[in-house]
Subunit: 360 residues, 2 copies
Amino acid sequence: MSTLLLSYQDLQQLVRRVGIDRFMDELIERLTSALSAFDPEETEIPLRAGFHYERPVTGLIEWMPLLKRQDSVLMKVVGYHPNSPLTLQMPTILSVFSKYDPATGHLEAVVDGTFMTAVRTGAASAVASRVLAKSGSRRLGLIGCGAQAVTQLHALSRTFEFEKVLIHDSDPTAMQSFPARVAAFVDRRTGVHEASLERVVGESDILCVATSIGIGEGPVFGELPRLPWLHVNAVGSDFPGKVELPVTLLRESLVCADTLEQARKEGECQQLVPDEIGPDLVELVRGHERYASFRDQPTVFDSTGWALQDHVALELMLGYAAEYALGSTIQIESMTRDPKDPYEFLDAADETASRLGTAS
Amino acid sequence: MSTLLLSYQDLQQLVRRVGIDRFMDELIERLTSALSAFDPEETEIPLRAGFHYERPVTGLIEWMPLLKRQDSVLMKVVGYHPNSPLTLQMPTILSVFSKYDPATGHLEAVVDGTFMTAVRTGAASAVASRVLAKSGSRRLGLIGCGAQAVTQLHALSRTFEFEKVLIHDSDPTAMQSFPARVAAFVDRRTGVHEASLERVVGESDILCVATSIGIGEGPVFGELPRLPWLHVNAVGSDFPGKVELPVTLLRESLVCADTLEQARKEGECQQLVPDEIGPDLVELVRGHERYASFRDQPTVFDSTGWALQDHVALELMLGYAAEYALGSTIQIESMTRDPKDPYEFLDAADETASRLGTAS
């Protein structure tokens, strides 16, 4: 029984061959379908749990499991270490996906989750915005110009035709480097403009907020004028005590959480009582015709990150890996011919051939 | 940042070079030291959680996380599928260990956990038996002759000199194949004898119970005469409703749980109230001089499996892998040079060289 490994280089080749736009488009469509078809009897997604610590550095390592019966168990492990970019030139978020066979417990695949976490978070905002944002939205605002802003802009630019992108970050270097990071998917006619918080909030049809604001230090902005149909994708709030949006904005808006229980614990919904919270993402997608009436009203998508999104992204990537025959295989588990003898493999014939095969 | 992989073949080479007896001896010593030094401020071990299902087959997949600050995060994923040996000729237990760096979230190593789960469970019984079993115990009883019985016998035979091993299994073929499976570490003068439940329980100084009895179908034996100093290692009880020992035996014995909260939920301690439960394994090892007074009295080690044991086994194996320069490395995470750009790696120079390096 072998385990498929996709290396960094495999992932690089795969995404280059598929094309990042096609990957994003298919992810958005598949996520929409998966949300529409979601059946909690068949797909079990417990709340994520994790280690949160201040030593050796401030950070957390969380695990996000998912069971899809008759199909797979996904174990996503994700690290969030906000000082990594500054102190180590490493990403804030690092993640690996492991996929298991629920019929045997066998580890079927180990794949990078860092890239897919970034992309699926963008895709989720596109799914929510397609239902809730004003039709023909032309102005996108981004507060926080880090890694998440890149995939937010990418995903939304596959769904809307923006004429103007307004950006704001408390770190001027993040703003300055942003246009180069998104040049591949921003039309040359679309300007990317640095702007004050007031302008970004006040002029946007759609606003994405993805900052590293500290626990207890939010919201990122206060009472500011905004367009009556503003749709906000609130991405950064993902920890108890961390919020980005003013509660007044939330109370005036239809608030959709990606997954309710987690959003109430870690998302913007921490600031609300249950009566103030609208549909979750599954309900939103299923009732998209009904919820389209909110396109002219203020709406918020409270995005805390859900393992269903990761599952969809992983399956899409594994499909491409099979199509392009990329990846390596390795036998990790000490599978013995005699299941009653854990030492039997020590007597098995030597296998001195190359330890790694190709996936094709 | 690379990830170390130990393949099945690497593990085979490593254990052959080290020798299974030396591996077991060092594991028992290191486990004793780790228990003695255990500091819950430095090592955080949440209760395991998991998916338990009846479809597609009866089984469970659990995750057992451990954080050792300044050192590592261990994520053990373990599958338990009791029908696998019969229907698929695969082991009941399959497991993989993943090790992460708590400073960054980086995946440092992926290693088989199946072999180490079996071995560390034996080692834990040896640690407990060394404190609690009668000095100079000569007769070992084994109820259940599956994979767990092999490592129980191995570990205990490194700690005691047995003159006689009595075995019992409800499946005659398991009994018949057992002597061949343990021939490497049973002295030729020591006989391995099939016996009735009555004889195994009645004649043993140390008894290990490791069966696949169903939930609600225990105990495995009832009121039977036994030696007044009988020490039992109760290994099979690891699920709510699954117990192997009669409550009368437990009530007459000093009961030591590997980890109390889990044993009360899943182990033999389900049958007891807190006042009836003795020290946990950490306390037992620290107070071994005090608890030695119980060697002439009935005692039980309630072994449900604890991530600390896995951590010790993994570190021991990784140390050998470094010493013998075995293993492969792979870069899994899409680590970008620019932590604010999740797509940056797509533009990085091609790396067409072999994707896998050696660990040396």
